[in-house]
């Protein structure tokens, strides 16, 4: 049971890397490289809970970076141990925050799919975004069910909703605009620029359309080729991601390690 953990390196090398870390960015890269297998291994242990593995690996990598930033050589603990705890903590938090450990009831999934189907129809008929009452009437569901389904979609992963709206099944990524929207140039967004770089193109594009172009969620759904509820989920999750990164990336420079603001 107590075999060498993945990604473990000799204590002497570990010490050397952490001593170089404050002044040498390459030390950080080496640490990331050495311990990425550990992050991936831990991410895999959380697989099959309704979250794409790629996302989990990304979450685990964020945990690894946090661990590297917070590790203190003075503590009498191997980095791999410390990193594993931090990474698992990050993964658990990911699930807890999003409630993905809980399954969406089938009934709500069905309602969500129906909402997706009727939203464009109703918008067309009324020339505006519909009310919940209007959606409920068309879906033969109660307004409460509609609201529950909306919340469920935003909070949980329901991969069947991620499929493109078009019947030809073009992957949403294919219909992205060619231009690379530089949302970082938006006033106030510079602080999240590094985190923006980590977002997949579609997520960046949705942010750009909502916050730069000022399109409504229904308009974005049409442009990007996904359902409106999927747009809603992308926005909710992306904003949450940026927020978390903004909170865990304090301005660098001062020796604020261990400071509890």
């Amino acid at each position: 049971m107590s075999s060498r953990p993945l990604g473990s390196i000799d204590r002497s090398i570990e010490v050397e890397l952490f001593e170089r870390l404050p002044n040498d960015p390459s030390a950080r890269d080496e640490l990331v490289e050495a311990f990425l297998p550990l992050a991936e291994y831990l991410a895999r242990r959380f697989d099959r809970r309704g979250e794409p593995l790629d996302d989990l690996i990304q979450v685990a990598s964020v945990g690894l970076l946090n661990a590297i930033d917070r590790f203190d050589l003075a503590r009498d603990v191997q980095f791999s141990t410390y990193a594993a705890v931090t990474i698992v903590g990050e993964l658990k938090r990911h699930f807890r925050d999003k409630g993905w450990a809980i399954r969406v009831p089938r009934r709500l999934q069905e309602v969500a799919l129906r909402i997706n189907a009727v939203l464009p129809e109703l918008a067309q008929e009324h020339g505006r975004s519909p009310t919940i009452e209007e959606i409920a009437a068309r879906c033969e569901a109660t307004p409460e069910e509609i609201l529950d389904a909306m919340e469920a979609v935003q909070a949980y992963s329901t991969s069947s909703l991620d499929t493109p709206v078009g019947e030809d099944g073009i992957a949403p990524v294919e219909v992205l605009g060619e231009e690379d929207p530089s949302i970082e140039t938006l006033e106030g967004w510079a602080s999240v620029a590094p985190a923006l770089q980590e977002l997949p193109p579609r997520e960046r594009r949705v942010l750009y359309l909502r916050f730069f172009e000022g399109l409504t969620q229904s308009e974005i759904a049409e442009q990007v080729g996904v359902s409106q509820m999927h747009v809603s989920r992308i926005l909710a999750q992306t904003l949450r991601f940026l927020r978390e990164r903004a909170e865990t990336d304090p301005p660098r420079g001062s020796g604020s390690r261990g400071a509890d603001q």
């Binding site: 807890r96 925050d97 409630g99 939203l119 505006r128 975004s129 519909p130 009310t131 919940i132 009452e133 959606i135 307004p143 409460e144 509609i146 609201l147 909306m150 919340e151 935003q154 909070a155 938006l186 006033e187 106030g188 967004w189 602080s191 999240v192 909502r210 916050f211 000022g214 409504t216 969620q217 229904s218 409106q228 809603s232 926005l235 909710a236 904003l239 949450r240 940026l242 927020r243 903004a246 909170e247």
Partner: protein, 138 residues
């Protein structure tokens, strides 16, 4: 405070913790649906409430309770989230240049960061349905 319009206000008080933001969001959506706000507007308001709560929970770890106050009017819905902790500086300096402010002001029609007796709040309004374009912009 005998403000007659506040009789219809919905008040929710939850522990000041991220796990309860879902509940705040769900109540907001439920009340917004009755006003009614459009589907698009409700989704935007939910995101804004999310952001508002996150902002408040970041500014103070001493808060014990987080409160949501929803008041419907002829124009739409006002949502105010607040925490019961005193903070030094609110709104934060240069708030209008922050990511948070940008997100909030894009999602709702008006945002205001207030201090009520030392306790910080985020006040947001969202118009009912899709209102016609204002005929005379100043």
């Amino acid at each position: 405070m005998p403000d007659p319009s506040s009789q219809d206000a919905v008040l929710v008080s939850v522990p000041a913790s991220p796990e309860y933001v879902n509940l705040i969001r769900a109540v907001t959506a439920s009340v917004a649906a009755r006003v009614p706000l459009s589907f698009d507007a409700i989704e935007d308001l939910k995101l804004a409430v999310d952001e508002g709560c996150a902002r408040l929970l970041t500014v103070s770890r001493a808060a014990r309770r987080m409160q949501l106050r929803l008041t419907a009017s002829d124009d739409g819905l006002e949502a105010v989230v607040s925490i019961d902790a005193e903070v030094g500086t609110w709104p934060p300096p240069n708030i209008e240049e922050t990511f948070s402010w940008r997100v909030l002001s894009a999602l709702v029609d008006t945002v205001a960061l207030d201090l009520d007796g030392g306790a910080p709040s985020v006040r947001m309004t969202k118009a009912r349905l899709d209102p016609p374009v204002p005929s005379e912009a100043p």
